[in-house]
Amino acid sequence: MKKLVLVLLMIATTVTFAQDKNKRESLEVDGVCAMCKSRIEKACFKTKGVKSAIWSVETHELKLIFDENKTDLKTIEANVAGVGHDTKALKATDEAYGSVHNCCKYRDEEVQDDHKKE
């Protein structure tokens, strides 16, 4: 009986550990400017359970904090790709990419160069 309780307890604790309410993750998302930043971050917040999303224009790093009980990284990535931004794991569809503003066409080298001058 004792052993059973112990095992159950262990399972319970590992479960609570795994279900982190404030899980931190970081991933790379392509984009070029402040408009992209707001588009990417908004897409993250559209995902229920995301508490904080900060995308850096310079490093292209998206820092996330989310509740694992409500969402996971895959869902968030899918939403980011859904508004037209590539991540390492998930390329945005042409349709989604087509929806971003012309000045944000980050796959285009000319656009990239334009933003480097800023």
Partner: protein, 744 residues
Amino acid sequence: MRKLLILLCFVPFVMLGQNQITGIIHEANPDTKQQPLFGANLIWLGTSVGTSTDIDGQFTIPFKPEYKQLVISYVGFKSDTLTITTAKPIMHYLNPTSDLDEVIVQSRKKASSRSYLRAQNTILVSSAELLKAACCNLSESFETNPSIDVNFSDAVTGTKQIKMLGLSSPYILIATENIPSIRGASQAFGLSFIPGTWVESIQITKGAGSVVNGFESIAGQINAELVKPSTDNAFFVNLYGASSTRLELNTHFNTEVSEKWSTGLYLHGNTHQEKHDVNADGFMDMPIYSQVNVMNRWQYTDPEKGFVSFVNLRYLRDDKQSGQLDFDPDTDKLTTNAWGSEIDTKRYELSAKLGYVNPEIPWQSLGVQFALSNHKQESYFGLNQYDIEHTSIYSNVIYNSIIDDSRHKIKTGINFTYDAYDEFVIAQNFARTERSFGGFFEYSFDNLELFTLTAGLRVDSHNLLGEFITPRVHMRYSPWSKSAFKASVGRGKRSANIFAENQNLFASSRAISILNTTGAIYGLDPEIAWNYGVSYLQGFNLFDRAADITFDFYRTDFQNQVVVDLENAQEVSFYNLEGDSYANSFQVELNYNVFEHFNLRTAYKFYDVKTQYQTGKLAKPLTPKHRVFGNVSYETEIKNNSNWKFDLTYNWLSEQRFSLTNNNPIQYQLDDYSDPVGTLNTQITRVFSPKFEVYLGGENITNVRQNNPIVSADNPFGSSFDTNFVYGPIFGSMYYAGLRYKLK
């Protein structure tokens, strides 16, 4: 997902808290300005763990013991690699590359700027702006800022007072490091008790401020951040001398005591011992004085646990003497031998702050503030004796968090204040104690693009003001590029310290009368006002150079005000407002970067400030209807670590109404209005190296003077004597020189 969970159940799983390092990256520039680098990249060598700095040059990067080498790089700068052994905060300077095979386009951070993103109409004044004038103390640090008006309060004490939106400083909440500090007994001279070199930056918020700092602000809030032991220079000295024989000395010493503790000792002394009488009216144009001001700060920083704390101790002693040239305090004090005045102030302060930011959850933080001060002023003005002692306690607990996600932020907390006043006015004692306890809640929403909203509410219980609520709302809307429409509305309430705030009136023969007797403060009721404001900021490019223009309009409507009625030249009466009292203020400001290193700031202001007096609805005395402001600054290219800086500021004020003098004898009657007055200030700074610079300046170089600032100067004990009809400079032009020497 479910499979993953089941798997996880069998894998013992431990989350280790990740350590973090915070820091700030600056440009190592020879003109020694702290120029934070925005967007510098940091990466741990051999890993993909990295980050970049924000607009203030600040960064946070995860830290593990196995990370050793931190690479800092930025376009146009030499990359540096630091060896990191502990999670101490990093302060690093990057050197610009000198190879000229590439052209680097850089934007310089402006000395003072308005925020496009904040909901509040806040102007940030950086240390660079503060160096544009000698600004020996806080009251002089607004000379280059068009939003604040600086003028003399009277012809004898030499005190500069500030106004905002047409209202004098009691209606502005003035705080140092977010602790309300210039209030009560220190209202009249408090700005001159904060040395300029102690000030790191200033934030000026027009209109209703945040509810976090209390219910007292009506026209706006000014917050001065002071230099901090961990970031200020290890050693700093500033020496200043003026042609009026005013001398000032500032020294800062900062040192690390241990890994987490640092301390700073800041000494300020100023003295002026020569009597001047340029206008030959028998009175000194400025007081003779001396001040000793000492502050000791202790800072504790533990980034791993997320703690930062400050403890400050301060002592001030300030002695002024003014009045007739031949006045001798030893023999003539409180007699009619000669007219003179002495104001001696002693002040002790202790304040402490503790901040905790959850290292795991960046949006969660808790701040605790506590301040204790004792302010004692003993003074007399001619035959009028005025003493005040004010002991004050301020404490505040504030908690920051989010609702759902970081677009919805909340601030909530409680504060407690205690003020004990003991006054001796001419021949009467006044004593009162004020206690208030309140809670606040502020919600801000940012949709990350166009729209920000901040709504705050306070509920306070005050032993003299009663129970009341203070709502304040700010919003920002940016429909197109580089634009910001802002609107704010808010309520403020305060008890008027009629004597402390109007001390200048003691330097006259006016008889004092208080017409109401039923109120809780000197028989008067608390002041209540609503402030409404709209502003529009637009950045644009003109001939390929950056420019921005701001229009703002504010209205302050008093529901009750303690009216200071000077319309009878031999009397001052205080009474509760019956009827209208409002202040309308319109301002347009243009900033333009004309060419490289050459900046222009110009502004026009219109004031319409009227109050219902017993004799009718009149414009507020000594408030110009129009003000024109211009400032140009130019810096030469930096060569061999040295360069020149030039600054020129022009101020023009239209005619100002004098309160009525028609019941004075004919020779002591003034016109209805003053003359317009324009003044020109300039300063040249020569930077020799990052360590050493010298400055030379002139105030009022066109030597503009108000000729007869004192009414009845020839008969100072007669019933018409008054030193308060001051609208312009009394002393004429003044030249000064100084040096700054610092060791990092």
